[in-house]
């Protein structure tokens, strides 16, 4: 039962990253590449009717985490207190940037909310990469100081950084060079992803330019991924042991690299949705490979005193998990129906949806 909910949770997170990921990416493109009012309009139209529903995947995944793995929810949300609250603030700015822009027709008003939308999207992409980095690096569970736990074994608290920015320091921080590396991968990957979505859903003038952006950034992404693989052993001495034990897990890295290499052909794609498909594969593969590398751990311990949190020692009881399957199954069918309706109504190019015009 724990394993079932673990797969559900990871699937929901992957869907969240793929869906809201294109919103963040579109925000970054909007910030750096959209010059004319028409381009900006095209971008907000392409995500306007979707971003809210996409964000619900995060909230729903949070709900499932709370219900199925309450100890992990409690431990990680309190331990990552500061960055989580900041993510909330950024989500608020992203949302009001999108929603309020069209309320008043005034150049200054519009440019303020454009910036709010773009900058918060950029920072969110960075923060989510950093968050993933923190999870795989692990934390000082129990806040061990000089060999003694100062809190219960599954609680911890991380400051935003420690002065050395090292992932191997005894007192860790949210930001160190390893987590920031993953954060930058997040920004680059989501920028590519967002560009692909815009190419897919609009007839914008910048689409040709965006294809070049995707192509060039893909080299950067490949380089960063290789660097991260080379340094991964610093945070986990045996980073690939899960894959060697269970070779079928190699499906996840294969998905990652299919996406990554497929994107190099972006300039020759005839169907506009193809690039989006490949960047989705990269995100899906990257996320699943990363969590597979630490499975069944969900939050490793960096000290020898308190044990890792695994999906088995943080789960709710059996009865609750079993009964949840019933309502969850019903809900999933409904959500699928909503999504089909939503994406059918807004199928094709969306340059003229008129999002945010009142």
């Amino acid at each position: 039962m724990e394993l079932f909910w673990y797969i559900v949770l990871m699937t929901m997170l992957a869907i969240y990253v793929i869906l809201d990921g294109y919103d963040f990416g579109a925000g970054i493109i909007h910030l750096f590449f959209a010059k004319t009012e028409k381009d900006k309009k095209a971008i907000t139209n392409a995500i306007g009717p979707f971003w809210d529903a996409n964000e619900v995947w995060l909230i729903a995944a949070g709900g499932v985490l709370f219900f199925a793995f309450p100890t992990l929810y409690a431990s990680s949300f309190s331990g990552f207190y500061l960055p989580l609250i900041m993510i909330l603030w950024l989500l608020i700015f992203r949302a009001i940037g999108l929603e309020l822009r069209g309320q008043i027709q005034n150049k200054m008003w519009e440019s303020i909310w454009d910036k709010a939308f773009g900058i918060s999207s950029f920072l969110l992409a960075l923060f989510f990469g950093v968050a993933l980095g923190n999870v795989v690096r692990g934390v000082n569970l129990g806040n061990v100081v000089e060999g003694v736990s100062t809190h219960e074994a599954h609680y911890f608290f991380l400051p935003l950084w420690n002065p050395t920015f090292s992932p191997q320091a005894e007192q860790l921080g949210i930001l160190d060079w390893f987590t920031v590396l993953l954060g930058i991968i997040g920004v680059v990957a989501l920028t590519i992803h967002g560009a692909n979505w815009i190419i897919f859903k609009t007839n914008s003038d910048i689409n040709e330019k965006l294809k070049k952006v995707v192509f060039n950034l893909n080299f950067v992404l490949l380089g960063l991924v290789i660097i991260s693989l080379l340094v991964w052993h610093i945070i986990e001495p045996k980073p690939f042991h899960n894959f060697l034990d269970k070779p079928w897990l190699f499906i996840f890295p294969i998905i990652t690299f299919t996406g990554l290499f497929g994107l190099f052909k972006v300039r020759s794609f005839q169907q506009h949705g193809k690039g989006f498909l490949f960047s989705s594969l990269f995100l899906l593969g990257g996320l699943t490979s990363t969590v597979a590398s630490i499975f069944p751990k969900v939050l490793p311990s960096t000290n020898n005193i308190n044990p890792d949190l695994t999906l088995y020692n943080v789960a709710a009881d059996e009865y609750g998990l079993s009964i949840g399957v019933y309502w969850f199954a019903i809900a999933v069918v409904l959500v699928a129906v909503y999504m089909v309706i939503q994406y059918r109504v807004f199928k094709g190019k969306m340059d003229d949806v008129g999002y945010g015009e009142h």
Binding site: I59, P70, S75, F77, S78, A95, I104, W327, Y338, I341
Partner: protein
């Protein structure tokens, strides 16, 4: 450690108070918009469709504010109340996860269609999307109040040796006797807010001598819905909710009503008075004898326990706060019924639109249902203190063990700043929409 708990509580209180200003309008207004749209489908009179369109603009803005301030609520269970989440997540996680899966997806998927899809969908389907958004927002309220009810009156659980609450009866979460009265009470109150907003804006138009057609329509709709909902808030829903408190949280009831000592021969109902916590009595009290006993037990002489019967350790933490919250709610609720009755009589006599002083009162009443809703929730929440789960888990045992007060105050200040900005933006933009008013456009 005391100050740690203080800032955790302040942050939750501040963020939830601000958040709930928006959903209370969302839930009620979605019903009124669906009503306008339905009237249009039935009568084909353009006015109703334009009224729906106008309120949808306010609705969109209000909904966005509700969404962005709602997400911090779900996060805060984990960030600030980690111990509580760890111990009870297997139970309240059920209803909260269901809220995400059943109502947020429904609302968010159809909101876009509802707001931008009128031309694309045609009127009938557009009505349907509105109805689904209404359904989603009411389902959300239902699941939140199911969670709330479990905290007030825990059912279907057992407690393990390690202190964890474990669910053993899923159905009990929904057949909880606390749930239905609270839910209906809350939904009726949300409709009160929306009716007063609609009527208040209508009065604003008439008094300003503009948008006459809409002004009259809004006042009429607001007054009819407002009368029905204000009555429903009091009876039967408020009555049933209060009886739950008497039965299951007698110390809370005593504090709400301001009864320090058990009175023999029937309890009086206190209208006004200040709790004197030093001498354990009410100062400057104005009260009517025996009414409380009758309202509570339908018996003029029934005995109602005073706070003196309960150990100090189970007294509500903030007795004066609870007392005032409850009295403000009840006082305002009574005024709402009176005002709406009067307005309805004038409406029936076809004199309402010319009775200027009632229009002025209707306009100035607009903020007060927000106060009544807020103080109603304070009554429920302060009434549960010092417990998170009534009688089982104390608030002091639920906070995050590793988050220091300095960090919580930092985020609390951040929320205050950010929400002040949101509040100002909302008022400014809502003011702009209201000032522009509904348009008498013909539909294509």
């Amino acid at each position: 450690m005391e100050d740690m708990l203080f800032y955790d509580r302040m942050q939750f209180a501040f963020t939830i108070t601000f958040h709930y200003l928006f959903p209370q309008l969302t839930m009620g207004l979605s019903l009124l918009i669906v009503y306008f749209k339905w009237k249009f489908l039935r009568t084909k009179i353009e006015k109703y469709n334009n009224a729906a369109k106008f309120w949808m603009k306010i609705f969109a803005l209000n909904f966005a504010m509700g969404v962005v301030t709602g997400i911090p609520m779900e996060f805060q269970f984990g960030t600030n109340w980690a111990k509580f989440s760890e111990l009870t997540g297997g139970i309240i996680g059920q209803t909260l996860a269901m809220e995400g899966m059943f109502s947020f997806f429904l609302e968010s998927s159809f909101l876009g269609l509802f707001l931008f899809g009128e031309k694309l969908l045609g009127h009938k389907l557009h009505f349907l999307t509105g109805f689904l958004v209404f359904l989603g927002s009411w389902a959300s309220g239902y699941l939140i109040i199911a969670t709330h009810s479990w905290m007030q009156y825990p059912v279907g659980y057992e407690i393990l040796e390690n202190g964890k609450f474990v669910l053993n009866n899923f159905g009990a979460l929904f057949s909880n006797p606390w749930l239905l009265p609270s839910y209906l009470h809350n939904q009726a109150a949300s409709l009160v807010t929306s009716s007063f907003v609609v009527a208040g804006i209508g009065a604003f138009y008439l008094l300003n001598n503009k948008h006459h057609e809409f002004g009259k329509l809004f006042i009429k709709t607001g007054v009819i819905f407002g009368l029905i909902s204000s009555l429903l808030v009091a009876f039967p829903t408020g009555d049933l909710a209060a009886k739950n408190v008497v039965k299951h949280q007698p110390a809370t009831f005593a504090a709400m009503e301001g009864i320090f000592e058990t009175e023999t021969g029937g309890s009086e109902i206190v209208l006004i008075g200040q709790p004197n916590m030093l001498e354990k009595k009410l100062d400057n009290k104005i009260a009517v004898p025996n009414i409380l006993s009758f309202l509570t037990y339908q018996d003029w002489n029934a005995e109602i326990k005073g706070l003196n019967e309960f150990d100090e350790s189970v007294h509500p933490t903030n007795v004066p706060g609870l007392y005032y919250a409850y009295h403000i709610m009840v006082g305002l609720g009574t005024i709402f019924i009176g005002l709406m009755l009067l307005a309805a009589v004038q409406l029936f006599r076809r004199k309402l639109y010319k009775t200027k002083w009632i229009l002025w009162v209707l306009m100035f009443m607009l903020p007060f249902p927000y106060i009544a809703n807020t103080t109603g929730w304070y009554t429920a929440e302060l009434g549960r203190q010092p417990w998170l789960v009534y009688n089982l888990l104390r608030t002091s045992e639920g906070a995050s063990p590793t988050v220091s007060s300095g960090n919580t105050l930092f985020t609390l200040l951040g929320f205050i700043g950010l929400y002040l900005l949101l509040g100002m933006l909302f008022l400014m933009l809502a003011g702009k929409i209201i000032n522009k008013g509904p348009e008498l456009e013909k539909h294509e």
